[in-house]
Structure formats: C-alpha cells, structure tokens
Amino acid sequence: MGAQLRVYKRRIKSVKATKKITKAMEMIAASRIVKAQRQVAASTPYAEELTAAVTAVADGANVKHPLTTEAEAPKRAAVLLVTSDRGLAGGYSSNAIKAAEELTRRLDGEGKDVTTYVVGRKGVAYYNFRERPVSDSWTGFTDSPSYADAKTVAAPLIESIGREAAEGGVDELHIVFTEFVSMMTQTPVQRRMLPLSFAAEAGAGETDAGAASRARIQPLYDFEPSAEEVLDALLPRYVESRVYNALLQAAASEHAARRRAMKSATDNAEELIKSLTRLANAARQADITQEISEIVGGASALADASAGSDR
C-alpha cells in the first residue's frame, strides 16, 4: 500500500470516530429538548397566574410601591445574563453574551451603573478572561434548572432591589436569556423585569393569557391583609418565577442550539469522509497504475535485453 493511501485511510478513520461522537451528542440533545420544553410548559400556568395577580395589584390597588413605579433618576441597574455551562452549542453562549454587552452599553449610555450577574460557566469565563467584575455567578445547572436553582439566583437580585441605591441597591432589573422560539430558532432577548412595565411586556410577545388579563377591566379586589403587604409578598415570587422561566427557556434553547451545531458537525464529517474516500480511491488507482507500468516497463526491458543477447 502506498504512503499516500495510508495517510488518507488514517484520516478517514479519525473523521469517522469524530462523527460517531457528534452524532451521539446530537441525539442526546434532541431528546433533552423535549424534556426541557415539557418543563417550560409545566411552569407556564404558575407564571401566568402570578403575572395576572401582580397586574391586578399594580393596576387595582393604586399603591405606590417602589417596585412598580419608576425611579425618578435611575442610577444603577442589574443585568442577569443566562449562558450555558458547556460549549459545543454553536453561537448559543456568545450570542447571549453579545446581547448582554449591547444592553450594558445602552444602560451605560443612559448614565446607569451596571452590575452584572452571570449564570453558566461560559459567561463566567468570558467575564473572568476580560477581568470584568461580576457581582455573583452560578454554574452547574443550566442543563436542567430546578425551581430551587431559580430561587438561589433570584435571591441576591431581590435583595439588591430592596436596598437603597446609596447602599448598593439597584433601581432596575434586566435579564438577558435565549428565548426558545422553535426547534430551529432561538433568539437572545433582553427583558426588563423590574420596575414592572406591562405595556412593554405585552409588546414583547408575552403569553396570550397575560395580555388578555391586562386588556380586561380589572375587578375591584379585596386585599388580604393589605395591598402593600400582598405586593411585598408577590414581587419576590414574581421575580423568582420570571428567572425560573428564563432558565428553563435558556435550557431548551441550549439543547436546541447544541443539536443544530452537532447536526452540522455530523453533516460536515460525512462530507469530509466522502471527499477523502474519493482521494483515497484516486491514490489507490494511481498506485496500481504505477505498479502496472513498472511491471510492463520491467518486462519490456528484460525482453529487450534478452533479444540483444541472442544476436
């Protein structure tokens, strides 16, 4: 076997091994998307009911709560960025990071101090590498986040929005995550969680039920024990549920992005194997041709030599 042919054979073998891995990852991701989507669907009723309740209090109670009214001159804003723990998901994490950077620049331009909170190892690595400060970060659960995870993420956010701005509190709370639109489309989105802005939310493609409940005239609620206390109790839960929803959507998007990245990797490997096989065939054919011409050349040289000695 020729040296050239041996090189091709070796490369084909290695590409085949890689293809097996990417194919497996593609199938694993595909099966996890379904699970993640189910989780998103299961968490929807709670999120919807909670949004409806928050809307009811904010609209109906006519209370001036610091969390529902815009600060006169917002000074500080918190941005929560949701990325993934693992790579090999195409542009998933970098797109989310890009969206967060854009938001940070915009807030900076508005004269607000931005504090960053990061979920996912990829986002943490990005900020660490650039030696940019991160207030808090969490890793290890982006694959399948639980409600408890959302609670731990939301806790410092809620705490910092409750504090006065002078003591390191924030006036605004933004979240950047990748929205799961469909199996093929996942878009990074920037949402403002607090202060509540219902009009903007409805425009940003909120759930139909939420928009419908806003459109309806709110009944006059009786609050137990009082509107302020209900709002005080509701808002942390609201933030938690929004964070939970964002984490779940991000997880679904991560799996979908990984599936797509791994699918194109598998396709590329197939393509590569095909062209390498062609090259290997050509190399083999060239070897054979050379061998034949060597034999024929050798034979004719021998025939010439023996014909010469006869004379």
Binding site: Q39, P45, E49, L50, A53, F223, E224, P225, V230, R237
Partner: protein
Amino acid sequence: MAELHVELVAADRRVWSGEASLVVARTSSGEIGIMPGHQPLLGVLVSGPVTIRTTGEDGTVVAAVHEGFISFADDKLSLLAEIAELSYEIDVERAERALEKAKAEQDAAAERRADVRLRAVAVAR
C-alpha cells in the same frame, strides 16, 4: 348550584384543577372560606392545608400548601404556591421521618414543611 373553578398551581406544575363549591384556606390574617359569588380577593397564604370541597367525584380534596397566594375573581379561584401537594400524594412515613430529622437538627423551615404535610393528611382523613 353555583360553582367556582379552582386552579391549584405549584411553581413547576399544575397540581389540581376543577369545580368546587367551597374552598377553605389560611391567609396571613386567618382562615378564609370562599364560596361562589365571593367578592374579588387577593390574599397571602401561609403554610397550611387547603380544603377544596369539589362538586365533582373527587369529594373533598385537601392539599398541603407551602406559602403562596390566593386570588379570586369572576368565580375563578387560583391558588399559587411554590410547593403544593395533594394529601394522597404525601408519603406519611417520609413526612414523619422528615419531621423527626428536622426537630433533631432544629431546622425550622423543614420542620414546618413536614408539619404542614402531616396536618393536610390529618385533615383529609
């Protein structure tokens, strides 16, 4: 007979939904019973059992609810809780063990959770 529609939802799932004639829950200012035609209400629930007297074949449904909200309007009642379990889903032995453990470790939150579960089971009986 007038009915009210009840949705009992936890953070990660819908626990129970159906028609009922009476719902009794504990808000932070005391027990409250809601029947069809009640005034619109939004309240804060404290941990405790919630009793739903259904008009369907379920009879009386009891759920252990760990903090949450109750909201009622247009004969629709939603009970929101981070954690909610129906009494027949609760593993009594496990809850008892959890209560013992929580008492031993003086974990107030865990003790309360286990206690609410056991109370819900007791009410259901």
